[in-house]
Symmetry: C2
Subunit: 363 residues, 2 copies
């Protein structure tokens, strides 16, 4: 009764902590021993592409999942049909390539930004002419937390932006001057049951998620985002948690990206929802009934980035729940998060202001 | 930043799972490797009285705590003053001996059953004459979950009851025909901060806790029970979670026993309170601010004893949270528990009936 997890970061750690009460055991695979996951469950050490280690992980697990999306689809696919992997590799592959992701949005009728594939100076110039300025040039692969992106405001920015891509395949996207950002998270089980969480309102800084509030936005927005998510869940015959991020402009949703895994914008669900995204991911991939995704109140999640504020000062904030990932501090690194749940949005905002003052002082 | 835990049962396991998000590490000491705790944290294997292992535990931990009360006070005391142990050994010692426990209740003005020390046939006869029949003869030490107890209904039961004691020191107590049973759980931190949970209503079967409901009872009962707990917390200059169980007869509290640790009747706090008893035990012994003990709704906890019902059937009950201790089934053994939290008592009872039908069918 072991779940194998490729990647032993904080997401893997929180999966294991959510899964022990279900009677589940866990085994990680990661490149170092010093991971958030390895502190709470056994871990194999090696490259994510190491076939021998992946086979060992498969042999010792009833199902394999992953805690980030930049793992090798080819290596996992090579394990063959006898190894159960969830979420499906097709969803993982689509999320790894921004061009496939955009095409997926198009195919499923999910509105997204205008985009064009870029593999040369000439194709970038054509893209800029067609889509206009400002725009964003992004590598197709291995981008997260705002890495591998370059904003073009004038044609003069073109060569500098191209240089930062280092010759990698890229896409050029229109720049969307959004009013706010939201994400929707839901689970689909191997038995086809679907459960969707309330919409998350997300605030980024320097490309990294900083604050999530949930529930967020109107009922109409929730309904439309949930509809898009349901279509994608069905399309992949999905099992596990899936996330789509949207810009919201004048009440309209514009899909930005999707992640086939538990997601930072869903961390509030540990205390703020009846069942956490971590438990529901496990229930979904193990074929168990899904738990309720109803909110317990009005939640806010704040990421702790780069430096950890003092534990005493954090825990002195009424109703605060701390999640320390046990990582060494480093600029820009997600070291933990805090969740606040209040009976109404006003009370949440009061506590949130106190928390943000503390976090900003530490940063 | 390690907490050493003597005993790696389900209580230790739930302490570790609650403490990882605080950035804490854990190290257990237990007699076997196959414990609920050893599945989630490293564990030393040996007797609880093994001085060498206890010294190793002390050396590797900033504070030592315990997950059951039948550990050796003498062995822990021998670690000396440089080792921080919480809760205090004086509270542990008092809870290990039913006679000391009764005297403690008396000294603190906490109403309890009438009792007398028994160390011979003659002293038992005197006790029965003074206190009357029916009554309960209990060993002074090592009793839990109804073990080491014998009910005397007639004088003829005297010799049979004495025989079951096997010559061990005992006490004779009046039999209290109670209306219901409650327990009160609270935390006191090394800094003297106190936080007390809502009263638990407990239902036992065959001497083992079966169902807890919380909040339970009137505001007056809560106030009186909390007052008793506060006096005991102050008396010991206590750090950690402390529990007192009471019989309630015609609205009056009669103390039955006390446990200087996280307690089965407080398991509902994981989902049913703002902060669980496990997290507050750790906050208390680490000198951190205590978390809110407010209830999130109306909770019920059901122990899974002897056999585990199917995980699928359990998780199909809306709002059910499962805690599987990963123990091998055995008659009378606590294998796990389930918690239900509802917005009102009527909704809780509806779900609870469904859960109890399932659990009774399994048993």
């Amino acid at each position: 009764m072991t779940v194998g997890i490729v990647g032993a970061g904080q997401l893997g750690r929180m999966l294991a902590l959510a899964g022990y009460p279900l009677g589940q055991d866990f085994l990680f695979l990661d490149r170092t021993d010093d991971t958030p996951g390895a502190k709470v469950a056994p871990s194999l050490r090696g490259e994510f592409t190491d076939r021998r280690l992946l086979r060992e992980l498969a042999r010792r697990s009833e199902v394999i999942t992953f805690d980030w999306e930049n793992v090798s689809v080819e290596s996992l696919a090579a394990l063959g049909r006898r190894t159960r992997i969830a979420p499906p590799l097709a969803a993982l592959a689509a999320s790894q390539d921004r061009l496939s992701e955009k095409r997926l949005f198009d195919r499923l009728g999910i509105p997204t930004t205008r985009y064009a594939a870029v593999d040369s100076r000439a194709s970038l110039l054509r893209a800029v002419k067609r889509i206009g300025l400002p725009g964003v040039l992004k590598t197709r692969r291995m981008g997260y937390d705002g890495k591998g992106q370059s904003v073009l405001r004038r044609l003069d920015d073109l060569d500098a932006a191209l240089a930062t891509m280092g010759g990698q395949p890229a896409i050029y996207e229109e720049f969307v001057p959004f009013d706010f950002e939201v994400s929707i998270i839901g689970a689909r089980s191997t038995r086809g049951e679907v459960a969707i969480y309330p919409l998350n309102g997300n605030v980024h800084r320097d490309g990294i998620l900083r604050v999530t509030r949930s529930p967020h936005g109107t009922a109409a927005l929730q309904r439309r985002a949930a509809g898009h998510l349901r279509r994608m869940l069905g399309h992949f015959d999905y099992a596990g948690i899936l996330n789509i991020e949207f810009f919201v402009r004048r009440g309209r949703l514009v899909a930005n990206e999707t992640a086939p895994r538990v997601h930072n914008s869903g961390h509030w669900t540990i205390e703020g929802a009846e069942t956490s995204q971590f438990e529901n991911h496990l229930r979904a991939i193990l074929g168990l009934p899904l738990g309720s995704t109803a909110a317990r109140g009005h939640a806010a999640m704040v990421n702790l980035i780069g430096t950890m504020p003092g534990r005493e000062a954090l825990l002195a904030i009424p109703g605060l729940h701390l999640h320390d990932y046990a990582k060494a501090p480093r600029p820009g690194r997600k070291l933990g998060h805090c969740t606040l749940v209040a009976a109404n949005p006003a009370a949440r905002e009061r506590r949130l202001r106190r928390l943000l003052r503390l976090v900003d002082r530490g940063a």
